[in-house]
Each structure stands twice: as structure tokens, then as C-alpha cells.
């Protein structure tokens, strides 16, 4: 079946310590998003903020299929992937605050969160724009004789873009070890015409390019992790591309940037019954792998870690206006600014204060 909304079967649980770590990672992302949504509403975080509420199982499951040496790229929903990959929440939150303590020093924001030490290449703002970049990374690994795999997470909407077809084609004819994880959204913010029409036959489409395709229930971390691990194994050992379709119900948050779950009662109830974090926690409790106090401790740890992150972010200084031209060129002993001839005779540094936000999509 192309479009599972439930897992193929109940997957076995991993070692207790691992299961708890997965739950903790999902919890951390959830809490981060809840707080980030509030701080966005309060004007502390700006720009576009694409939350991941409901995608935690997909994000953590996919990331836990990777080894440290593997490369990861994703869309604008980058903050969550960085957290999954192990980047300190403080440095992610500070990035969303636009501060120098941010992982990109406040230059990139949520959409560009990147952590090269963890081989997380970011954070790409344009729909589908990271696909060829992922193909290139995979090509380089093979060229260098290294058994690394590149994972590229994208949305179903991106599969209508030419970048998808071009990259799939190349990955297929060049046997690139890249795993494409397509988040097929069945809820939340999505272009309905698009999702319905373009992704309905995603598996058929991908197979048309000669790409091996797997599907998973993106709401179930066990299924997602197992299927992605299989995809990674194929990519790593057989040196060829694999596409994983992860079906997903993003929370009915109404807007991409508000974490608060809203919508009508039934919709909310339906989503809550699917909530990947609650589901996984319940399962761990059921099988006796977690008791309720441990569960509460994991939640509290997430809370406190995020509160520390918020506090760190709030204390981290704004970048200096004069640092505008930094980190743009690699200077070969040249001076900053040498590469451009700035025409701006005089730049006054306007006072900086939180400014009102226009209605945004």
C-alpha cells in the first residue's frame, strides 16, 4: 500500500535505554515547539517559523536511522532536525532569537539552522532546493571512498518541483547513496490541491525513476526508524538511492507558525489520539518500560532544558550591526568588504527594538 496511515505491524521495541532516549528526543522537540510558538506570538522570534508538532516521530525516527558519519539535510523545518541530531537546544533557540549565541550566529534563523559538527548541513529555505545539494553530498562520499550516507528530508509539495525529478534521475543513474524521506502531510499546513494531486502516487512516481521506495507510518517512531534504517542500510551497502514515504498528520495548528493546537473539537480529538509523542509514551508505559514518574521526569527534563535554552537565548547578545559583512566570504588575508564595493555612503545604525509584525502567511 502506498499510503499507510497505520504501521504495517507493531514493531518490536529497542533496548530500554534507547527507547527512553527516543522518547526524550521527541519530548524535547515538542517542548521546544510549544515554547517557540509562544515566543513567536510574543515577538521574540521573527520570520517564518515552521513548527513540527506531530512530526516528532518522523524527525527522530529518521535521524536515529543514521550514524554520526552520515549527512543530513532538511527544509525550513530545520530547528527540529538539529535538536534530533543532538545540537544543544540553547544554540538552536538563540538562533531563533537571532542572537550571536545561535548556531548560525543569528544570521540564518529557524529556516537555516545548521550544525556542521554534527554533519547537519541545514536548513534550506526554498521548496526542493536542497535535493541536488543532497545528491552532491552523496556523490562526494562515494568519490572519497567513504561509506557515508546522505539523508534528505522533504515535504510532499516538493515532489512536484523539477528539482525532485532532476535529483531523483541523477541519483538513480549515478547510484548515489542518498535516502530521501518525504513527509507526506495529511493534516496541518499543506497545499491541498498539490498534496492530493501530486503525492497521491508518489511511490509510482519515484519508481518511474527507477528508485527503490519504502513507506512508513510517520506517526510511529518504531516504524519510521525501522524503515529508515532499512533504507540507510540499502543506500550504504548497495550504494543506491532509496525514497521513504513517511505519512504524517501534522497537528491542526491552523498556521504554520503557531504551536497552539486549535481547530474544531473533533479535529483536535482525532489528532490527539494520533499524537506520536503520546502514543509512544503510552506504549512504553504499557509494556512496562517506563513508569509514570519516569515519564514525568523526561517531560520535566525537556521543560527545564528548554527553559535554560530560552534563558540562554534571551541573554545572548544581538549581533553587532557592523558585523553585517562577516561570515560572507572566506577572506584570503584580505579585508572584510574587499569583495564588494559598498555603494552606501553612510549607514546609520537604527535603534533596534522589537517591531510589529505584519500578518504573515
Amino acid at each position: 500500500m502506498n499510503t499507510p496511515v497505520t504501521s504495517a505491524h507493531q514493531r518490536p521495541l529497542p533496548d530500554p535505554a534507547i527507547a527512553r532516549e527516543w522518547l526524550a528526543a521527541m519530548q524535547l522537540i515538542r517542548r521546544f515547539d510549544e515554547r517557540a510558538g509562544e515566543l513567536y506570538a510574543a515577538g521574540q522570534i521573527g520570520g517564518f517559523l515552521h513548527l513540527a508538532v506531530g512530526e516528532e516521530a518522523t524527525i527522530v525516527g529518521a535521524s536515529r536511522a543514521l550514524e554520526d558519519r552520515d549527512w543530513l539535510l532538511t527544509t525550513y523545518r530545520a530547528h527540529a532536525h538539529a535538536l534530533a541530531r543532538g545540537t544543544e537546544p540553547s544554540r538552536v533557540m538563540a538562533e531563533l532569537f537571532g542572537r550571536v549565541g545561535g548556531v548560525c550566529h543569528g544570521r540564518g534563523g529557524a529556516m537555516h539552522v545548521t550544525d556542521v559538527e554534527r554533519r547537519f548541513l541545514g536548513g534550506f529555505g526554498l521548496v526542493g532546493g536542497h535535493l541536488p545539494v543532497a545528491a552532491g553530498a552523496a556523490m562526494a562520499s562515494t568519490y572519497q571512498g567513504r561509506a557515508e550516507v546522505t539523508m534528505c528530508v522533504l515535504g510532499d509539495g516538493a515532489t512536484s518541483n523539477g528539482a525532485f525529478a532532476e535529483s531523483l534521475n541523477l541519483a538513480a543513474i549515478w547510484n548515489l547513496p542518498v535516502v530521501l524521506v518525504v513527509t507526506r502531510s495529511l493534516g496541518g499546513y499543506a497545499a491541498p490541491g498539490d498534496a492530493a494531486a501530486a503525492a497521491a502516487d508518489l511511490v509510482r512516481k519515484a519508481e518511474g525513476f527507477g528508485i527503490k521506495t519504502l513507506a512508513c507510518n510517520g506517526m510511529d517512531i518504531l516504524d519510521t526508524q525501522a524503515v529508515c534504517a532499512e533504507a540507510v542500510r540499502i543506500a550504504r551497502t548497495e550504494r543506491r538511492p532509496v525514497l521513504v514515504e513517511a505519512t504524517n498528520h501534522r497537528a491542526p495548528t491552523g498556521a504554520m507558525s503557531a504551536a497552539k493546537i486549535k481547530g474544531d473539537k473533533d479535529e483536535v480529538a482525532a489528532w490527539k489520539a494520533r499524537d506520536p509523542l503520546a502514543q509512544f509514551g503510552d506504549r512504553l508505559v504499557e509494556v512496562g518500560l517506563l513508569d509514570s514518574s519516569e515519564r514525568a521526569r523526561i517531560q520535566m527534563q525537556a521543560n527545564s532544558s528548554i527553559e535554560q535554552a530560552v534563558s540562554f537565548a534571551g541573554r545572548s547578545p544581538h549581533p553587532a550591526a557592523g558585523s553585517l559583512y562577516d561570515e560572507l566570504y572566506v577572506l584570503h588575508g584580505g579585508e572584510p568588504g574587499w569583495y564588494g564595493v559598498d555603494a552606501r555612503g553612510t549607514t546609520t545604525q537604527a535603534e533596534v527594538a522589537p517591531h510589529e509584525r505584519e500578518v504573515q502567511p
Binding site: 520570520g47 537571532g98 549581533p319 553585517l324 555603494a343 533596534v352 505584519e358
Partner: protein
């Protein structure tokens, strides 16, 4: 002429509605313009009122959206294609240049392409390096492509109506930070002609020319100059970049002998550079000082609000450049 107070966004929506009502050949094409009312809500309610055949939601496929508009235009329609951001428009530049702008020439005048490509640009909402571009200068390069860049609600509506009726392809550049701006908009079928600059504020000591939101920045700068320095600045808004009302610009400079150009785009290869080059060429002996440009910084727009502001062409910077030009 009766007017109504509308936002820039509402004025665009009204202009689209009037043209959709007037001419069945007008159709709208773009990502999320229907069910989602457009990324910036400019097409609000149009799907409900005009139906799927005329308000066409596309997938994320920018180059194809423009090519689609070209094909429909060749076969008798007058499509208006919305691209979500001017950065997305980069992906369509082959179609904009080759299919939209050059087809009339390449066919020896057999074909024409009455197509409007609407796209928002600009910084101001901390959208970071990928979503804050101002790229009108790249489009200005292209012969065959007209460019409108309205800075008021009235011009937004009037220029859009003119664009839709023009037989040539038009890039219609909106500014993301102007959508909420209110202003008086003439009711009914009032068009704003292409190629006619407007004086936003008369003055004698110096000319400030502002492009897109830069026209508003220039007015703010003129206020500062008047209030704080007793300088009388004339503000010109060219409104369309191709055709460009060079005579109006030259006439103003011939009176004031000084010019500062304000744009948000990058300086190298920018619109301001072109205007500076043209003005020194056509009014060399009238210039008492070099034409200065206040542009967006020659760097990406950072996400941090400090960096975003620092990269903008702001009124204080314009006032400072004006004073420098005046030798003060």
C-alpha cells in the same frame, strides 16, 4: 474622483477583481492563490467568486507556472501569474527571459505575450537570507519585459490594471512590507499609465528618487531633512522601471542639481547604478555633486533584526547621503 481607503493588499485584490469582471480572458495562476488566498492574501476570496477555471492553484513549479502563462497568453488569454516570492522567481527566469520577453522579437512580431507576473519582494519581517531579496535589477536587465513597482495602494491598483491590459509581458513587483499600508484608492476603472513618474513631494534643494518601498523611505528622509536640516527635498517615484520616465528625473535634477537614489536591492548591477549612470550622462553639467545611492547592503539579509535593519536602506541613511551631497 471618488476614493476609498484601502490597504495595498486590498487595492491589488480590487484591481484583480475588476479585471476579472471586465475581461473573461483574464485568469490567475499560482501556488496557493486559491484555497489559501495567496501567500500574502492578495487573492483573498477570488477562488470562491471566480471558480477553479479562472483561479488556478499550481503545485510548487515556478518555471512551469510562468511558461504556462506564456502559452495561455499566446493562445488568447491574459494570465496573471503569482510567484510566491521573488526568490522563487529566480527559478522561472529562463521562462521570463526566453519565453515571455523575447518571443515577440524572435518570432518577428508574429506573437505577443500579454502576461503579468506578480511577485512580492523585500525585507522587513526577519525572513532571513533566503526570503528577503529585492531583485528588480535582475529583471531590469531584460529587454522586452516591462516592470512596475508600486509604492502606494492607488498605484498598486492602477498599475496592475494597466499591466493586465498591456500587450507586453510585465513583471509586477510588490513589496511585502507594504501590503498592510493604507491609502486612498480611486474607485472604479482608473488606470495609472506606465512610464510616468510621480512627484511624491515637491522640493528645490535636492532630488530623492525611490524605488518600490524606497519611495516611501525617500519621503521619510525628506521629512527628516526638512524638519532637522531645513533642506527642501523633492521625492520622485518612477513607478515603472521599464519604461522609465527619464525626462521627469532629468528635469528634476536640472532644477535641484543633486540626486540620491534609494533602493533596497543590492548595489552592484542595481537599478540605482543605472539611474546614476543615465543621469550623469544626460545632466552632467547640471550636477553639483555625484549622484549617491543608498541601497541594500552588499550582503545577504541576515535573520537577526539588527542585521536585517543594518542591511536596509533607511531614511536616516538617505538623509545623511543627501546632506553629504549638499556638502553639509
Amino acid at each position: 474622483m471618488s476614493t476609498t481607503t484601502l490597504t495595498y493588499r486590498e487595492a491589488l485584490n480590487q484591481g484583480l477583481r475588476e479585471e476579472l469582471d471586465r475581461d473573461q480572458r483574464v485568469i490567475l495562476i499560482g501556488e496557493d492563490i486559491g484555497l489559501f488566498d495567496g501567500a500574502f492574501k492578495v487573492t483573498k476570496g477570488l477562488l470562491a467568486d471566480y471558480g477553479e477555471a479562472r483561479i488556478r492553484d499550481t503545485p510548487s513549479a515556478e518555471s512551469t507556472a510562468v511558461g504556462l502563462g506564456v502559452g495561455a497568453a499566446l493562445v488568447g488569454l491574459r494570465p496573471v501569474v503569482e510567484l510566491m516570492t521573488i526568490t522563487a522567481a529566480l527559478r522561472a527566469l529562463d521562462q521570463v527571459l526566453v519565453s515571455a520577453a523575447q518571443t515577440r522579437f524572435a518570432s518577428g512580431g508574429q506573437l505577443s505575450v500579454p502576461l503579468v507576473i506578480r511577485t512580492p519582494q523585500g525585507s522587513g519581517h526577519q525572513l532571513g537570507p533566503t526570503h528577503s531579496h529585492s531583485l528588480e535589477a535582475m529583471l531590469l536587465q531584460i529587454p522586452g519585459l516591462l516592470i512596475a513597482a508600486p509604492s502606494t495602494p492607488a498605484d498598486a491598483k492602477g498599475l496592475l490594471k494597466t499591466a493586465i491590459r498591456d500587450e507586453n509581458p510585465v513583471a509586477f513587483i510588490e513589496h511585502e512590507s507594504l501590503y498592510g499600508l493604507k491609502g486612498e484608492v480611486p474607485d472604479g476603472d482608473v488606470l495609472v499609465p506606465f512610464g510616468e513618474a510621480v512627484v511624491r513631494r515637491p522640493g528645490q534643494d535636492i532630488t530623492l528618487l525611490g524605488i518600490s518601498r524606497g519611495a516611501r523611505t525617500a519621503v521619510d528622509a525628506a521629512d527628516v531633512l526638512e524638519r532637522e536640516h531645513g533642506v527642501s527635498a523633492e521625492v520622485i517615484d518612477p513607478r515603472t522601471l521599464r519604461p522609465l520616465d527619464l525626462p521627469a528625473i532629468i528635469a528634476s535634477v536640472q532644477r535641484t542639481n543633486r540626486l540620491v537614489v534609494v533602493e533596497e536591492g543590492w548595489p552592484q548591477g542595481g537599478v540605482g547604478a543605472t539611474i546614476a549612470a543615465l543621469v550623469q550622462e544626460h545632466a552632467f553639467d547640471h550636477l553639483d555633486a555625484p549622484v549617491l545611492r543608498v541601497t541594500g547592503a552588499d550582503a545577504p539579509v541576515g535573520y537577526s533584526r539588527v542585521l536585517e535593519r543594518a542591511a536596509q536602506a533607511d531614511a536616516r541613511a538617505v538623509a545623511a547621503a543627501a546632506l553629504k551631497t549638499l556638502g553639509r
